[in-house]
Chain length 339, copies 2
């Protein structure tokens, strides 16, 4: 069992930074595209054997130090009674706009409606020799999609609602958080050894709004998962202006996107956290020598952190050359041999 | 002549913060929508009398302290020989992807192909009792559109090109900068009393890339404009992680988006600049009392700045209620009476 990822997440001594890559099971892999020729995205998420199969693909090919369950943050819409399509981004035909829309949300048990996720986790734990990361979207990010109905540059609909009727926004966040809590603990019970919360749109908020609409919900979820002894990573994308407040969520690991150098992030969040990141995904379009150089630069930035998990600063891009991923992995591994 | 804006931009004493609003001539105004029912967006940009007319609308309605020319950052594509459509965002059917595409760019004189802009400026200077701001997109942001072909969350195409073939990316930025220089000086010659450079996508870059691909070009443009005695505002959207480097561009005023409190921005950029901003545009969906409160909070944040120009932290949203804008303007004006 390779437990490098778990030790780094807990700020225990490690030989080198563990590495995994956001969206590591995805379109840049020919073996993933082969599966997707047979089934659509939602069917893939909902078929435990197939979800497990694509989760394993990048582990088998690159030997990453952690696997992340193949799924989508918006599967949680199902127990809430919201229909989501993917074309390819999420589209919600009837977005939540009124108090009645929010009162009407269902309270299905995600252990039942999302049983396929837990089944995929159980299959994977039988196969994997590296830790398995479960995940969910953070409440604000999920609410942003559910209120807007689709991806957006600004998610102004939810942000306007937060200002025009903040109690209603809080009711929605509360409802999402309740269902997420059951869902995340079910993932842990099924065998997820770590959890990552993706707060992809948190960076749209100023620190005050972040404090009001993100921190309390995220904190509660993280507490519940950590009570089970499972480490949690919180990734607030584009969150440079939030760095001073990130420690309040109580995560073990903070994800940092490619924009903020790890040394700057570390100075501003303090030294009680492991950091995860943050090679620019577009750097993987450079020739291999340059990829190695940029990877080394990230490792240098991370040298004095209390814990570091190597990752990209955002999901890997669909056209990324396989050789670049190989160059990254080799470079991260080589640090162990050097030290 | 109300020169509050120009004095604040130059960090001279002012009775209160001047106010204008990004996209103040736009869809939230019924009188603007009435004009747009008659003509499409590009025709409006290209007809000096109409461009001048809509530029004046928000000045007449709200008495803002500065007017900004109604135009679009992508009109500069015309002298470069690139076709742009608006539907409603910019769409470039044949985006620049190869060295040949970039070599093929035209060197038309923007004083001729964009003569309609300079004509609109001349008309406006005959009408206005407040300063007129001319503007352009910054080279990186324009290149991002020209290479991607449309709006994008990540503008990964240009960012990948910058890494895979940085000399080619620099050739493109150089070509855009050459044409922008002529264009901006022509705006000044026609009567623009201040210039704002919009670097809407600069925030996608880490500080190192910002230093390589933005700063030199922006700095050169700002120097040229400032040699004519005209103050320049540089607005790098979502640039919290770039704050320490922003002073290098040599602007008079730095625009700050809604995410970063002005006091935090001021601490990190130092005290040699006026700051512009930064009420969250979504705050204008709150009831008037809350709008006034949020406006006051921004003014409080700005109290000790060496210079402050009140603005939103991003363009005003199309559905914004007129009463909210009135509440903002009254609140900013009231500070003069109080002090």
């Amino acid at each position: 069992m390779n437990d490098l990822y778990l030790r780094a997440a807990r700020r225990e001594p490690v030989e080198r930074s563990p590495i995994w890559i956001m969206r590591q099971a995805g379109r840049y892999l020919p073996e993933y595209r082969a599966v997707r020729q047979e089934v659509d995205f939602l069917t893939l998420c909902r078929t435990p054997e197939l979800a497990a199969k694509v989760t394993l693909q990048p582990i088998e090919r690159f030997g990453f130090d952690a696997a992340i369950l193949f799924s989508d943050i918006l599967v949680i819409a199902e127990p809430l009674g919201i229909d989501v399509a993917f074309s390819p981004g999420p589209v919600i035909e009837r977005p939540l706009r009124t108090a009645a829309d929010i009162e009407r949300l269902r309270h299905d048990d995600p252990r039942e409606s999302l049983a396929y996720v837990m089944e995929a986790i159980r299959i994977l734990r039988g196969e994997l020799k590296v830790p398995l990361i479960g995940f969910a979207g953070a409440p604000f990010t999920l609410a942003a999609y559910m209120v807007e109905g689709k991806g957006s540059k600004n998610f102004a609909t939810l942000r306007s609602l937060m200002i025009a009727d903040s109690p209603l926004a809080h009711r929605l966040l509360e409802r999402i958080t309740e269902t997420l809590e059951v869902y995340l603990l079910a993932q842990v019970d099924a065998g997820a050894q770590a959890i990552q919360l993706f707060d992809t749109w948190a960076g749209l908020l100023a620190p005050g709004e972040f404090g009001e609409f993100c921190i309390p919900y995220v904190k509660r979820l993280i507490e519940k998962v950590r009570e089970r002894g499972v480490p949690v990573t919180y990734f607030a994308m584009d969150g440079c202006h939030l760095l001073e407040r990130l420690p309040e969520v109580g995560a073990d690991v903070l994800g940092i996107d490619w924009r903020t150098p790890l040394s700057m992030a570390s100075t501003r969040v303090g030294r009680r956290h492991a950091l995860q990141g943050n090679l620019d995904p577009t750097a993987l379009f450079a020739p291999p020598a340059a990829v190695r150089e940029r990877t080394t630069a990230v490792l240098e930035e991370a040298r004095d952190l209390p814990g570091h998990i190597f990752n990209l600063g955002h999901g890997i891009l669909p056209d990324t050359p396989i050789e670049s991923v190989e160059a990254v992995v080799e470079t991260v591994r080589a640090t162990a041999e050097r030290s």
